[in-house]
């Protein structure tokens, strides 16, 4: 059995090998992220089947749990680390042809560090370690947003950095207050002790931590940086920020609220925030003329949907929320990657300039369409199964309030459908100017997108393939007692 610690250690080591390999050959340096992601994907999937029976707890440094830094490789952590590795693999294959200008070796180093941060956040069982990995993730994404070095990218990176740094500072303040009250940093140990601390004095650290993490997760009032950063970054980075970074931030919020604090009373406000985030995101996306900004706002909407589903906190809705998280990652990565070469070929980011691109780039447009249909929630794609589970889970919980909120969520989905259909109509039925010669994306980019397109269809047709994993992931989040026992013994 391989240790889950290697999921962090191997990419971290390889990240700093990239500049050395780049000295010998810049072409070889591009392949290092592919190797690292492939390793992580294989190890995560193999460990996942073992973790379904019993979560794997690794104690670093040879001390026993509350005193050491623990890695908690349960179903949630390994599912998300497999997702990070999968998305990372697809995007790094795409980047072989797409990232051809500028400091490419530095790009690949930062890209791997971003993935290390994301993997570390989902696997760690220690709140301070969470902060450290979170900062690794954030700092590399600030730098990557500014990678192109153009005016828009620099401005977006500056805004993102200031907001992200304030968020991280609040997170650290929350961790400090929590340490002052419980005297420990281990998540399971804190979870066991918060019961004996007054709920009034726990409110401040929880609020600080949720707000700090919520900046990266782009929950509604904290998402000012996202549309700028996602639309100004290179498309590969937009894909990874949208598909991985905000999901990982969201995971951290969920872990802190559910496992560390067990705050069932805070969940109702998160349900409302989720619906608000969803509606604001979808309505802003509707009015965008820039396709990358539209996709960025659509990510905000999807995050709202996931927050809504998970905060209802029943087995059915949490399963649906995690399913939605996976299907959003799969589709949004494909959308950003497809748009990357569409923008490259048409020379503009405006939706109106994509007229008739369906004839010039039929395969890329097909990938875009499948991913957009999945995001809207049309059968037989993955998004249908996940949205269906969310609605069923929310309605099974009952109550007038939730029924009204489900209605609002469906309104959000209709808006989402409206703007995606408008783009698809422009792509296929718009009259392109002049030459209609075929000019497809490079083969390697098409291969990378087709992997995810195939997965979207397969998971959509056979959702039972991942339902066991999702069910045990949901029960890991909902059962704090089992989490505490499995770490502290």
């Amino acid at each position: 059995m391989v240790s889950p610690a290697l999921l962090v250690a191997v990419p971290l080591g390889l990240a700093f090998c990239v500049p050395l390999i780049g000295l010998a050959s810049r072409k070889a340096a591009r392949l290092v992220p592919i190797v690292a992601c492939l390793f992580n994907l294989v190890v995560s999937v193999r460990l996942l089947s073992a973790a379904l029976e019993e979560p794997i707890v690794v104690s670093m440094g040879g001390f026993s749990p509350p005193f050491c830094i623990t890695l908690y490789a349960g179903p949630v952590g390994l599912l998300l680390s497999a997702l990070v590795a999968l998305a990372g693999l697809v995007v790094s294959i795409y980047a072989v042809s797409y990232i051809d200008k500028g400091a490419t070796t530095r790009y690949h180093t930062l890209y791997l560090l971003l993935l290390v941060g994301a993997t570390g956040v989902v696997l760690t069982g220690d709140v301070f370690n969470l902060f450290v990995f979170f900062e690794v993730l954030c700092i590399s994404s600030y730098a990557l947003v500014a990678y192109l070095g153009d005016r828009g990218g620099l401005e977006a990176a500056a805004k993102y950095l200031v907001q992200g740094a304030v968020g991280s500072a609040l997170l650290l303040l929350g961790i400090g207050l929590l340490y002052g009250q419980t005297g420990t940093l281990n998540m399971a140990d804190i979870a066991g002790r918060v019961g004996s601390v007054g709920s009034a004095s726990l409110f401040v650290p929880m609020a600080l931590m949720v707000v700090g993490l919520g900046v990266e997760a782009a929950i509604f009032p904290l998402n000012g940086w996202l549309p700028d950063a996602h639309s100004s970054a290179p498309s590969t980075i937009s894909a990874i920020l949208s598909g991985i970074a905000i999901e990982v931030g969201l995971y951290a919020v969920i872990r802190v609220v559910f496992t560390v604090f067990g705050a069932s009373s805070a969940l109702l406000s998160l349900v409302f925030l989720g619906v608000l985030t969803l509606l604001v995101g979808e309505m802003c996306a509707f009015v965008q003329g820039n396709i990358k900004r539209m996709l960025a706002y659509s990510s905000i909407g999807q995050i709202g949907l996931i927050v809504f589903a998970v905060s209802i906190a029943t087995a059915g809705s949490v399963t649906g929320g995690l399913f939605q998280l996976i299907s959003h990652t799969l589709s949004k990565v494909v959308l950003f990657l497809a748009v990357g070469y569409m923008i490259h070929r048409s020379g503009s980011t405006e939706i109106s300039s994509l007229q008739g691109i369906g004839k010039r780039m039929p395969l890329t447009s097909f990938a875009f369409t499948v991913a957009a249909f999945s995001l809207i929630g049309l059968p037989p794609f993955a998004g249908f199964a996940s949205k269906f589970l969310i609605v069923r889970g929310a309605l099974a919980e009952g109550g007038t309030l939730l029924s009204v909120l489900v209605g609002l969520v469906l309104v959000g989905t209709v808006i989402e459908g409206a703007y995606f259909f408008r783009v698809i109509q422009t792509i296929y039925f718009g009259t392109g100017e002049g030459d209609a010669a075929r000019h497809e994306s490079p083969a390697i980019a098409l291969v990378s997108m087709s992997v995810l397109v195939a997965l979207i269809i397969v998971i959509g047709v056979y959702p039972s393939l991942i339902s066991d994993t999702l069910n045990s992931a949901a029960s890991e989040l909902l059962q704090r007692g089992a989490y505490i026992r499995s770490v502290l013994g």
Binding site: V132, E135, A158, L161, V166, A169, L172, Y179
Partner: protein
């Protein structure tokens, strides 16, 4: 006065945090915002140290007989602060790097004038 005496470090730390936040929220010059972030970080580091500090405490090393664990300063927050300082330096260096490039592109550091990306 005993309240001030007991909680002086916490008052100072939260004062720095609030000053930092105020600067970040109200200033438009990017360099000033970065200075605000630095003050915010310093306040948090001071707060972390204050959590584990004991007046007249000793280092947590059993160097001579007769030392009691009760009089020792908690070493964990100090380890956290070392890490937090390193992270803070990295963020500040990156922020200043971006500020230099922004000034080269736009000729100004006023964030009110740097706004090509709106809606």
């Amino acid at each position: 006065m005993s309240f001030l005496h007991d909680y002086a470090y916490y008052i100072g730390a939260f004062g720095l945090v609030l000053i930092g936040l105020l600067i970040v929220l109200t200033k438009h010059n990017l360099i000033k915002v970065i200075v605000g972030l630095s003050i915010l970080d310093t306040g948090i580091n001071m707060f972390l140290i204050a959590v584990g500090y004991i007046r007249n405490g000793t280092a947590p090393i059993f160097s001579r007989p007769g030392l009691e664990a009760g009089g020792m300063v908690d070493p964990v927050p100090q380890a956290l602060v070392l890490t937090a300082i390193v992270i803070g330096v990295a963020v500040l260096a990156l922020a200043l790097g971006i500020a230099v490039r922004l000034h080269r592109e736009y000729g100004t550091l006023d964030m009110r004038k740097i706004k090509e990306l709106r809606w």
